[in-house]
Amino acid sequence: MSKFIKRNSIIFVFFGVLLVYLINANSIILFFDSSVSKFVFVDVDQIKSNSNIQIAYALDEFEISNDMLQTVNASGWAFCKSSLKNPKREIRLIFKSNSENTPDYAVCIPATLRRDFLATFIEQADNAMAGIEAKFSTITMKNGIYTLYLQVVENDTLSGVICTDRYYEKRNSSFQKVRYISVDNITQTVEYTSDFKLALGEQYIDSDILKVNGWAFLLNKNCNQQEVYIKFVNSDKECTYRAIPQSRPDVVKAYGRDLYELSGFHLEIPVNELPFIPEQFEIIIELENKFYTRSVMYDIQNMV
C-alpha cells in the first residue's frame, strides 16, 4: 500500500488540491470578479425585529443574465421616511429562504445618486443618495425559493425593512422569478366567515396560462399579515397555490382603511405546469395561523 501511494504520490497530491478547490470553487471564481457583489449571511427575523422605521422604495425588474456567473442586475431606489439629512445610506437586498435548511442571503450596497428620484422627491434633496445599483452572482446560493426583502440602513440605529412580495427560485444553474408557489393542500379547518370580503378580476385559463387575480381581506384585519391561497378543483382532484400579494390603493380609497393596502392577489401559472386542468377555485385567507373562507367555489372561464 505504501509503495502504491509513493508511486502515485503526485496523483494524490493533485487530488487533494482538486478537492479543496472544488469545495471552494464558486467563491474562488467570484473572488476574481470585483464587479460582482458578494453575498453575506443574515438573519431576517432579527433584522425585522430591529427595524424601526418605514421605507419607501421602487425596484425595477431584475435583469437575470444567462452568463456563467448567473449575474443579476438590480436597480431602483429606496429611503427611510425619516428626518435625517445626508445619511451614509446602505441598501440591502435580502433573500429570505422559505426553507429552514437554507440560509438567508443579503447583498449590501452603498446607495447611489438617482437624479430621476430627486426630480420626484424634491423634499429629499438632502438625501439624494437613494439609488440602488447592484450586480451580484447567484452561484453560491443554495437551491430553494427565496422571498426578496429590502432593507435601508440609515445609520447604526435607524433602519427599515420591507417585504417586496417578489419570490425567486434558485435551482441548480438557474435563478428566476417565481410567479407562483405550490403548497400542500390545506388540511386544517377552514372557517366560514361573513367578514370575508372579496372581488375577482381575471379568472380564466387559455392555451398558455391560468390567471386568477382580485382582492380579498377580512374586515378590520391588517392585510400585511395575511396570506391568500387559491385552491383549484376538478372532480376529485385539488391543488393549492399561494397567491402573490399586490398593492391595491383603489381598495384603500374605497374602504378608507390603509389596512387593506396589500389586499390584492394574483396568480399566473403556465398551463403545462398544472397537475390537471381546474374547473373551479376557492379563495382562502390565512391569518394568525387560522384559515378562513367564503365557502364559495368560483368557475374558471375556459378560453381554449
Partner: protein
Amino acid sequence: MKLNIKKVASPVLITIFPIVFLFANNSKEADIKDAIYLILGFSFATIMATVFLLFILHFSIKATLIAEIFSFFLLNYALLEKIIKKIFPQLYYWHVFPLLLFVLFVLFINIYRHLPESTTESMIIIINIACVSLLTFNIIISLPNIIKGGSDNRNTAEKITIEKPQSNLPDIYYFVLDEYSNFNFIKKYYNYDNSVFESFLREKHFTISSDSYNDSDQTLTVLTNILNLDYISTNATSQKEKYDMRQSAVLYQILKKAGYELIGVGKTDYTFALTSLTQGSKTTGIGNVRGETFSQIVLKNSFLYPLITIDHTKRAQEVLKAFDYFEDETNLKQHLVPTCTITYIESPHEPFLFDPDGRNVSPGDYYNWSDKKFYLNQYKYISEKMIRVIDNIISANPNCIIFVSSDHSARFRDEFEAQDKKSPFHALYYCGNLMPSISGKSGVNTWRIILNELLNLKLDENVEVPGNE
C-alpha cells in the same frame, strides 16, 4: 524513438473531424472559408501540442494516443459537461473542467506507465481508420455543394426593357421587418388587436393586405425571390447561390435602369447585398436563426464555449440605428436623384431585446417563445416605431412610395400552422393615392404591381406562389 509525420498527423485527424462533420451537414448554409480557417488553426495548435508531448515523453508513440484523447476531450468538452451535469446539476464549468482534466491526467499517467507500445499502436491505427473513413464520407457528401459554388445568374425573370431613365420618379422606401406578423395572424395567435397601427395606415392612405402568402418562411429564400421578381430559389438552394442571386437581383437592375439610386439601411449587407449606411461593420458570414456563425457553432461544442457570446447589445443598436436614420429630415426630403431606400430590420425576430417601451428585456428571455408576451412586446415596439417613421417620411416627402412588409409571420410555436407562418405583412403607400388592391398578393407580385404602376411595365401580377418547403 524519433519524431515522424505519422506520430504528429494522427491527432490532427481527431481535431478536424468535428469541423468537417459540421460543415458537411450544413454545406448549403456554411461558407467553406470558415471551415478552412478553423481547420488550419486547430491543426496548427494540435501539431504544436503533439510535438511538445512527444518531446516530453521521449518520442514514444503513447504521446500520440494521449494527444488524440486530449484533442477529442477539448473539442467535444461541452457535450461531456452536459452529460455530467445531468447527474450533478449543481456543478458549473469551473468544477467539471478541472475534474475531467484530473481524470484525464490519471488516465494519461496509466497509459504512459502500463499500456504496451504494440497495443498503443493498434489503438492509433483503429482510430485513424475510423477517422479517415468518416472524414472521407463527410467530404464526399458535401462536395456537390462546394463545387457548385455560386450562381451563374440563373434567375428566370422575364426580359424587362426600360428605354431610358425616366423623370419625376418618386422616391421609394421599402421596409422589411423580419418576422413581423400580419394583423390576422397576430389576432388569431396572440389575441392582439393591432388596430391602432392599422387605423394609422388607413388614414395615411395605405393599402393593406392581411391575406398574402409567400413561398417560404425562410427569410433569405423569400427575399431572394422578391428581389428577383420570381421564384428562382427554394429552401434547398445554397446560401451562396442565393446571395449571388440577390447581388444581381432583377429588381435592382430595373430600378437602376430607370435612374434610381439604391440605399441600404439596417442589416442590408448580407440580406440585400446592399452596403448599409447605418451599420458600422459589414455583415460577414452566414449565421443561423440566432445569428451564430459556423465558427461560433463549432467552438460552442468545445472547452472554449464560455467565451462564445452573441453581442446582443450590438443587435439592439443595429435596430435602433436603422430607426434613427428616419429621424433625420435630410434623409427623408425628396432626393434630387430618385432613390430607393431599402431598410431591413431584424425585428420582431428573436432575440427579444425590447419591451413595448423599448426597454431592456432580461437576457434569459431573449429567446423565450413559450411566454407569448416577449414576441408580442417586441412586435408592439416595432409597430410604434414604424408609426413614427412613416409619419416622418410622409411629412417630409408626401409624394413617395412606401412599401412596409415582412418576409413571414412568427414561426416558433407549435400551434402556428405552416401556411400562416408564410403569410407576410404588406402595406403600401403610393404617393398618397389608393392603389389597386394588393390583397392576397405575395411579395413578388406586390412588387410587380408597384413596378407596373411606376414604370408602366406590363409584368404579370399573378405569378403563382409555389407551395414548396
